[in-house]
Symmetry: C2
DNA sequence: CTCGCTATCCTTAGGTC
DNA sequence: TGACCTAAGGATAGCGA
């Protein structure tokens, strides 16, 4: 189990595997974006347009932590 | 060395540490965004507005891999 | 298909220079 | 200040159910 090798930056040709990867990584990106917003006091927003999985537009926005101290 | 404990989702109060964390995580987010774009054939773009580090707007955009096969 | 598991790779906080 | 190093926590590909 687990990942076999290192990530190769290349389009995943298999449709099913690409779709699964898309959903998992989209969730991962949201988490990272939120962490950046909270930990580092920044507004973060992103848009993802799936071209060959669900052909949909996904978006996410996280406000910065309410500035308590400078 | 290495990280000491788990990441606590809370604004980092120390200005220097927050700034270092911001730059590292911004770079990490860019990498993740590009991987999502390439691996999963999606357009990805994001905007980050630093509220207390450099007070600047950072942006990033990655085009999907040119659709070779459906 | 979706969910949960986990070995494996990746990211990064804290440190040094 | 920035670049580099490393341990450790975190993300995730492949599977099983």
């Amino acid at each position: 189990m687990g990942r076999r090798g290192r990530v190769v930056l290349r389009r995943i040709e298999d449709r099913v595997r690409r779709g699964i990867c898309f959903r998992k990584r989209l969730a991962g990106l949201e988490k990272k974006a939120e962490e950046l917003a909270v930990l580092c006091d920044a507004h973060v927003g992103f848009v993802v347009l799936s071209c060959s999985d669900d052909d949909r537009l996904h978006h996410f926005a996280a406000p910065a932590t309410y500035a308590l101290s400078p």
